[in-house]
Homo-oligomer: 207 residues x 2
């Protein structure tokens, strides 16, 4: 009994993991409406009906994909250390964001798709968690400005620039690869990109 239950639990966990991973890819490529349960089922190598066994509706599956991505976003958000110097805090935050762009390009694309579409699902997160997080970081950046540690720039636009630039390497990876002899960036190129982004932004705000 216990063995069977354990086995079933394991199978369940594996299938859930496979489905969520493939769903992330398909949603990234086609958006919510454009993605089909059939395409996700094919990618996961499962009959379509099995998807509905694990996730009652397409929307429920999409929500879980979004939840996972938001967890990763929170992880990056934490790396913006409000007690560090501007150099340390921003360098770490940018590096973390670049690592996420490389490790989770599909998640980033799903997020981008969501926002482009007016954030029908994640609007709650934007209004609450993201909004509050942004306010605390704006306060920190303003303190840096008062202390003369950086130039008097608009904190919001600094954050937008960091988000835009780092996420661009995930969301527009196809365009970047095309301009890189049709090859994805290699290790050295990712390092170089991270250093370039960090250097220009830090110097650009006088840090």
């Amino acid at each position: 009994m216990q063995v069977n239950t354990a086995k079933k639990t394991r199978i369940r966990q594996e299938n859930l993991s496979i489905i969520l991973g493939k769903a992330e890819q398909i949603f990234a490529e086609f958006g919510f409406k454009g993605a089909t349960m059939q395409a996700i089922a094919d990618a996961a190598d499962l009959p379509k009906a099995n998807l509905h066994y694990y996730f009652p509706t397409k929307l429920a599956l999409y929500r879980q994909v979004i939840e996972r991505i938001f967890t990763i976003w929170l992880e990056a958000a934490d790396s913006f250390d409000t007690s560090a110097t501007p150099q340390e805090a921003l360098t770490r935050y940018i590096r973390k964001k670049m690592e996420i762009s490389r490790a989770h390009p599909y998640g980033s694309k799903v997020w981008a798709n969501e926002v482009i579409q007016g954030a029908p699902i994640i609007q709650d997160y934007l209004q609450t968690t993201l909004n509050e997080w942004t306010d605390t970081r704006i306060a920190v950046i303003n303190r840096w400005i008062e202390q003369g540690l950086i130039d008097p720039i608009d904190p919001r636009h600094l954050l937008y620039m960091i988000w835009a630039t780092t996420q661009h390497y995930a969301d527009f990876s196809h365009q970047i690869a095309t301009l890189n002899d049709n090859r994805p960036l290699d290790d050295a190129q990712w390092q170089r990109a991270t250093r370039n982004v960090t250097d220009v932004i830090l110097k650009g705000i006088g840090a």
Copy 2:
């Protein structure tokens, strides 16, 4: 006879214009697969069959939408004046890109969707026109570096940063509005954004 022909031509032009405009919106919001001819027809306030009278297939309509957007892209590309100083060339280019983000947010989103999906339609443009344009600008930026006019940064990553940052204001306009008390940026805020982006990038590369 001539009157009728003229009238028909006028109606045709008007309808084409309306359909293309609404199609841009719907494709921006739902991507190619997610957009439906019915949704575009409803937005244009026309029966679905009329869309197929003007555009044989959904793909043909999408291609024309993409063509229009690429024309705008070319316009921005021209504003990167290779004979100007770094300050002049980049200031003008960034301003132009910001103006486009404000004037054509849907076009920018369609473009973003296309690239996220692996550029199935615009791959030719990326390989030819964009690639060649990028090479010429990289050469110019490298000359600036040799002449000591700017810091020795990787030209590609400078271009990516400009694209990412300026297009972010169109593609992520919903998120930006959410963090702006649920209001789109007003005139003054757009000016401030443009100035911030320009200042940080120019100072960031030592121009």
